[in-house]
Symmetry: C2
Subunit: 586 residues, 2 copies
Amino acid sequence: MDLKEIKSPKDLKNMQISEFRRLADQIRFGVLNRTSKIGGHVGPNLGDVEAIIAMHYVFDAPKDKIVIDVSHEAFPHKMLTGRAYGYFTEEGFKEIGEFSSPKESPEYDLFYAGHTSPSIGLAFGLAKARDLKKEKYNVIAFIGDGSLSGGVAFEGLDAAAELNSNFIVIVNDNQMAIAENHGGLYKNLEELRETNGTSENNIFKALGYDYIYVRDANEIKNVIDAFKAVKDYDKPVVVHLNTMKGLGFIPAEEYREEFHSREPYSLGNGALLHPQTSPDYMSITRDYLLKKAKENPELLVISSATPEAFDFMEEQRKQLGNQYVDVAIAEQLGVSTMAGAARGGIKVVYPVVATFLQRAFDQHEQDWAMNNSPATMLVLHSGIRAMNDLTHLGFWDIPMLTAIPDIVYLAPTNVEEYLAMVDWSILQNRYKVAIRVPTYSLEHATEPVDTDYSDLNKFKVVKKGKDVAVIAAGDFFVKGQQVVELLSKEGIDATLINPRFISGVDEDLLQSLKADHKLVVTLEDGSLEGGFGSRVAMEVAKSGMKCLTFGLEKKFVDRYDADALEKANNLQPEQIVAEVLSGLHS
Amino acid sequence: MDLKEIKSPKDLKNMQISEFRRLADQIRFGVLNRTSKIGGHVGPNLGDVEAIIAMHYVFDAPKDKIVIDVSHEAFPHKMLTGRAYGYFTEEGFKEIGEFSSPKESPEYDLFYAGHTSPSIGLAFGLAKARDLKKEKYNVIAFIGDGSLSGGVAFEGLDAAAELNSNFIVIVNDNQMAIAENHGGLYKNLEELRETNGTSENNIFKALGYDYIYVRDANEIKNVIDAFKAVKDYDKPVVVHLNTMKGLGFIPAEEYREEFHSREPYSLGNGALLHPQTSPDYMSITRDYLLKKAKENPELLVISSATPEAFDFMEEQRKQLGNQYVDVAIAEQLGVSTMAGAARGGIKVVYPVVATFLQRAFDQHEQDWAMNNSPATMLVLHSGIRAMNDLTHLGFWDIPMLTAIPDIVYLAPTNVEEYLAMVDWSILQNRYKVAIRVPTYSLEHATEPVDTDYSDLNKFKVVKKGKDVAVIAAGDFFVKGQQVVELLSKEGIDATLINPRFISGVDEDLLQSLKADHKLVVTLEDGSLEGGFGSRVAMEVAKSGMKCLTFGLEKKFVDRYDADALEKANNLQPEQIVAEVLSGLHS
């Protein structure tokens, strides 16, 4: 049976096992076809093809409930559950997303899941529901080795071990996170692989699980046998699969980190079709950190398993040696380590992706903000134009970080200001500083930037005007300039302000505006509720000045077009000007 | 040497080991003396006395760095580091707090730490700093068995296993969290205890740690020997201590859960001096859940190891049987389990303490809010008058939960409204609902409460007036009533509004106020920035109406007097009225 004829996993049941080799090839080609053209996760989806075919051959979804962790490795699952067209047609590319999606398939994708490590906890909840309802089916969490380092995965493993009922954890061990794995757990997985699963050091057994090891899990017969052995098993069990990331595409086998997720590439040699050649904020961050670390041997750079987010590939990591630490996919630990190391008397920089930093609210507050741990966090890939998948929105970093006392959150508007802020932050020994790294094209300062930011919450008036004051933060400062320009054409000489600080407001300045301004406008590249503008509005509303806050409505959006999203939120300069004019005259 | 003569751990070095028995007795009496008079953590501090004496006898703090997890078990450490007076004098009771505090002792308490599980990550950061600085000293994380279930503790264990340098984890295993432990990890600890540490199932060894077990760690000689064996050890090692929670005070030995932390009690028989006899929101929640669970066998109650926060003691947990699940000290998993079980088609209620729910921002967003998982979260002990330690402030639940789309956050103002909201939330199948359980004395409805809250963000006008509109949320509704009353004495007929919803605003109502109101006032029992009032201010400021938001300044405060804190934040009704009058006339 060809992949294109498969409508649901039920169709697999009538196939011969010998046919699966060809099916696997077709699935791999689907993975390569799609990712080479529109980009996406390559290696994880080449490695787990046999495991996913076997899973759907042996188990009976949707009756059996499968939760695929992080779900960027769910392409084969999508192809076998009626969505193969998502990998072969232009329209399909658009319709089918990167991660599991109940909207695409409510039966087979039970959850949106794009962050790492939720599968075991979600499956534990499903199992509790099943048991309370006295139903019988298999509950399966399918989780990669990389995802096991996230604390909530451990919390799930720990709790689910107490179930006296069916609970199957499939560990897809391809020996990689995005980059190499870090931590004692991975030494244990290695030991288990090397002993064919017989080592007495076994974290899963230690937690109370039965355990089956599959030495070559890209040989489908082996996986089918293992799954048959645990189907309808009446206690928690771990099936540990040894798979090969990138299998079947030589460049992906060889450059496993580069092919974890990749922009469009040549199916011939794997080369990027549109390689990044000019500097961007990622490469600037990389070069800056390399230089700073060289200058100061007591500077530590932390990553929570996403070094590629600031262009720190193997070469750069090697250069830094023990001045670089990857704490694994564990943002909570990233923040704890930052706070601990800073307290230990060294300089620390922790670049972290906006959508992931929200995993550490508690550590931000408890370990970092309230302690004497001056350190620098660089918040990467925030706002509208960085990532655009429902599960990877960078809209909530401002509400989150600025809810916490004693974290100074800075929003630079250009390269020079960005680097001046990092310079200052690393040099000083008092404040806990987060910096929102811009994500738009590079802007450059047209006049000297400040080098000292210790006078907290001091906004910078870039152009003094009257009637309307435009306060435009970070990447949206350019938008502020455009708005002011458009207003001048309407005969309005507006004030333009670069707030720099988004975790507090310049109360004196805001109150002084009242003298010759009627209306204050805020612009920010993030969610409005709890954001920067909401603080300005609270201050401004005290005196009854009008205030219009521009940013994003608090709403989930998925794989959006950035321009369309801006338009829907009245964020285009012309729209802003129209609202300002209407506000002035109402 | 008497406890009162000990100025620092250095004084222990000259003592004979045989003297420590008496010292331990003195420390235990200090624990009992303080907690019996002002309340606090009893059992944990009775159990680890010998371990802490031994730690300070063998290691050389402050050169060696010790991080005590959660730190409500740090009383003996405090007594040995110059703070014994905190346990014997009235003034000391006030000066010395419940948790580790760099303010009290910057040398010996490196971090504020009151939430569970941070010690290993913080210590890992210290160790990285030490190694970069090429210094030599011992880094020690002292962590209870209960704290090990928090994911970040595992993340820390995992990462620190890779250190090629000294790193000592002391596991103080007293076989209890607050209540009994849950999870496979605890079966493993039990197995290790039963085999005198020799079982081949050993989670610590599996993660790559060397491992030493101490069978009776309330016998100080045993602990000293173990610590001497690992002092200056040059790789990561776990010392597993078997201690007895509550040791030495019979009621605490017998009722270990009740004596984990306790209000003032009799040193004779352990009985509470001021037992709670009248119902409060905790007992109302308990009784409600027992009733609901009986009515609906497909209703699941989840706790993340704090069942006592809603009066669910052993008896109640037993009554619920498999309709109750304790996921261990693991709020991330609490939310995942809630989301998973709701998706599995049952009703779920998760009562969680406000200051702890912030450990699950990511799960709130990813696992719960964006998924089809209608469930009910009860947020307990929020606001000014619930807890008052720096590390346990319930001020940030509103900014946090309301930053996330698709979570409906309700703030009931009295018992009947609270129960009507829970009733509605459990019945409906669409919304993800959090309810801010009141913490003040019981209020009762004076007229029938609504039973349907599916018309989201609809505020309720309780009294229609003009000029000033007072919008008072949750527990602060009473304050709103007082303000309106005081205003009426000033000749102002103010409008009084119960918003009910704090995760959104009633835009139509707010804009309609413009017709006959000059000023809008918001009152909330929480941090202002990102809070309810900031949303109202954003909406109101659009039209240039004045808005005054009352709540807490974004600031860390520690062991405050609630009335004083209210006063400092202008939250007393007279203060509010004064600001309103001034705002009206400026």
